[in-house]
């Protein structure tokens, strides 16, 4: 195969990943199956690492494949699998189509900046928080951009089309209710999207080589790649063509060097070189590697000691780690813990593994999974929670558990999910209509799938709710359907650790019906 056709291969593979992953997040009609989802998020680097650490199961080693690919060919990941990287390529491609864009040029490596953005999330991780990982993970950022910027626009178009059809009495497509889009939810992805758009339009993949921790980490690994793109000095005529198409700005024409750390393997240079001056070369070809520098052992020792120190600190702080809840205020209902989705085992497991990519938010048919604000504390911002003001958890659904790429929500069988207690319903009699208005209501009990909320006799031939917590699974149907405003008369208090609910043992109703007997009227 000619090296020049590598670029075509790269474009095809990258578009397959890009379109599929975009579709996952924009799939407002829930058409795509969780299986399809799993294929395309399997290789996403950070979610895959977190899932592997969480489950310790050999089948979740997507990140190891990525490492193997990187150690063989370099940062192929950045140009084919990473949706955020491809998004930047798409943006700069469009920009060049619209406005004959100037060419790229060689860039400084910005080493301090790069490594700070790699170390910062690691430091936080050692302290037990994945806050900075969530902030910087390319896949999760891509998810949030789609969920909060593109999907609402798409739904708006859908609904506009539906409304025009309805005017003509055509009920072919139904409008889709737009979930609670809050300003802060749009602001962060918008700021992030603006940032990468700005950076990519100006300097190609500069984001990937200065900010992205995955890019930097894979860059470190690619130092050891078996095959490297290098300039064949004898063939090179210093024509500058390669430097001008290099998105990473990692080709130094003057010194005829390529900084392979920063190369995202887009193969543009291979396509344009007129003289065979750039080659994909076997690393152990000795005469090529004349530039090996002396290793600075002092520096390495220093870095090692920092890591050692931080890891010591992390165990100290982990014992004190607590979910920071909302401060008590004048609201009459004070929830101590938020409710995390089924399959997330405990708030601790969930907040330590969730990268806030919002794939569960996008996939949830009832839209009960919503990003949190401060419910998990500042460092857990945007990690999803069950928001029973928006909706409630469908009793017969486990979709979120099937799509989560990071293992924050683990797969769970439907029969087990139906007994997994996310929280417990608490009845606030003083708010209840039956108590305050002396009229029947019972909306909570109607919606309860396990009848943990039952209606029992009350004064004046009325019935009033009674909660049997042992049967409650914390699905939030009661809280959602309670019509009392602004404070509900029944709400779900989250379980810090998910428990198992008891199954109601009932006997079959024993009633013989004689179909030949006359009617009771």
């Amino acid at each position: 195969m000619k090296l020049a056709s590598l670029k075509k291969l790269r474009v095809v593979i990258s578009l397959i990943f890009f379109i599929s992953i975009t579709a996952l997040f924009l799939d407002y009609g829930n058409i795509l199956s969780p299986k399809f989802t799993n294929y395309f998020v399997y290789l996403q680097f950070i979610p895959s690492i977190l899932k592997f650490i969480g489950i310790k199961n050999i089948s979740f080693i997507g990140f190891i494949f990525v490492v193997i690919i990187t150690i063989t060919f370099g940062r192929v990941y950045c140009s084919t699998i990473c949706p955020l990287g491809i998004l930047q390529d798409v943006l700069s491609y469009l920009a060049r189509k619209i406005k004959k864009k100037k060419y790229y040029s060689n860039l400084k490596p910005y080493k301090i900046l790069r490594y700070s953005f790699l170390v910062l999330p690691l430091v936080f991780l050692f302290f037990g928080s994945i806050f900075f990982i969530n902030l910087l993970d390319p896949y999760s950022n891509f998810g949030r951009i789609n969920t909060w910027l593109f999907k609402p626009v798409l739904i708006w178009f859908h609904n506009y089309a539906a409304s025009i059809l309805i005017q003509n009495k055509i009920y072919l497509i139904s409008p889709v209710e737009l979930f609670f889009v809050k300003t802060y939810l749009i602001l962060f992805p918008l700021a992030f999207f603006s940032l990468i758009a700005f950076m990519s339009l100006r300097q190609g993949r500069i984001y990937c080589n200065t900010v992205c921790p995955v890019g930097t980490l894979l860059g470190l690994i690619s130092k050891f790649s078996i095959f490297k793109i290098q300039i064949e000095k004898s063939n090179c005529i210093s024509c500058k063509l390669c430097e001008r198409v290099c998105k990473s700005g990692c080709i130094d024409r003057k010194n005829k060097l390529i900084d392979f750390d920063r190369c995202v393997n887009c193969y543009n240079c291979l396509t344009v070189c007129p003289t065979d001056g750039i080659k994909y070369k076997f690393r152990f070809d000795h005469h090529l590697n004349s530039e090996i520098k002396e290793v600075d052992y002092k520096k390495r020792k220093f870095i090692a000691s920092i890591i050692f120190f931080i890891s010591g600190l992390s165990t100290l702080t982990r014992a004190q780690k607590k979910i920071v809840s909302k401060l008590p205020s004048k609201i009459s209902i004070f929830k101590k813990f938020p409710v995390s989705p089924p399959g997330s085992l405990s708030l601790k497991h969930f907040t330590e593994k969730c990268t806030a990519c919002h794939l569960c938010v996008s996939s949830c048919p009832s839209q009960v999974i919503q990003p949190s604000f401060l419910e998990y504390g500042f460092l857990g911002m945007l990690q999803p929670r069950m928001d029973y003001n928006v909706s409630f958890c469908n009793y017969d659904c486990v979709i979120c558990t099937e799509v989560c790429p990071s293992g924050a929500i683990l797969p769970i069988q439907l029969s087990k999910k139906k007994l997994t207690q996310l929280g417990k319903a608490k009845f606030v009699k003083d708010n209840c209509i039956v108590y305050t208005e002396k009229t029947d209501c019972g909306a909570c009990s109607e919606h309860c799938p396990t009848k943990a909320v039952n209606m029992i006799p009350y004064v004046n031939n009325l019935v009033i709710p009674e909660v049997s917590e042992e049967y409650c699974i914390g699905c939030g149907a009661c809280e959602y359907s309670c019509p009392v405003k602004p404070y509900k008369a029944i709400y779900v208090e989250g379980n810090y650790v998910h428990l198992t609910a008891k199954k109601k043992e009932v006997k079959k109703i024993d009633e013989k019906v004689d179909y030949k007997q006359d009617f009771p009227f």
Binding site: S174, N394, D396, D440, C441, G442, S481, V506, F521
Partner: protein, 307 residues
Amino acid sequence: MERREFIKKSASVAFAIGASSAFGNFSDLLAHNYTPAKKNYDLVAVKGGEPDVMFDKAIASYGGMAHFVKKGQTVVVKPNIGWDVSPDRAGNTNPKLVERIIQHCFNAGAKDVYVFDHTCDNWTRCYSDSGIERVVKDAGGKIVSGETENYYNEVDFKGGKIMNKAKVHELILSADVFINVPILKHHSSSRMTASMKNLMGIVWDRGYWHQNNLHQCIADFSLFRKPDLNIVDAYQVMKRNGPRGVSKDDLVLMKSQILSTDIVAADSAAARLFGVEPNDIPYIKIADEMKIGIKDLSKLKINRIIL
């Protein structure tokens, strides 16, 4: 066309579309000119067969569906599709019955048959898991979402003690014939659900009913548009843990069905089947007192069919 002019024009077109959706459809309120059914019987009760077979027999005693549906009319069939449960849990109206009703409508010459419900659980799952979406499509009807507030138009009606207006699904406002197909069930708040309670699924804001004396609201709303025919599915009856039910153990196979043009009479007979006195169901009592229909079954001409 200048760019500025184009923008102005397209904006005004968009505004016109938006405005017509906000104010539209009220003219349809006056457009009903269906003839009232010729009453052979006040109520038809049938038992001992499958839902579709029982319906064939029952509707025959009215002289067939043609008695209610005239050629070229649009029909809306409103089953209970409130819950994401399978047909064998009897939380939703029996799909076999719904299918048969639609077939009868088309045989009588209906132009369109629409089916919808404002569900409690997620609507797409309710529609598919209840089996109703499939049978509606098989029978040639159209299943429509009840999940969008845009579909609901505010209407006023007279005589209600608490409720005098509601946002009602536009299909109910525009259809020539309205067929109400509830399933008889135990209900934790209203004690029992059948025809009158089923109308809660054609309004947008159910919370209002719960907040403002549920039983009175159920009765009040029956004043708005009485269904042309009520068909109570009592094939499998949920006797406890209603309206959603916890398991199949909550059900009794009663193999019964009630048809009536009088919504109160239909519920009164359903209550008897269920095993309670109509007087013990507050909304039936209230509706009778408000003269919305007749609760006292002894005053009615009833056709009793045992298969």
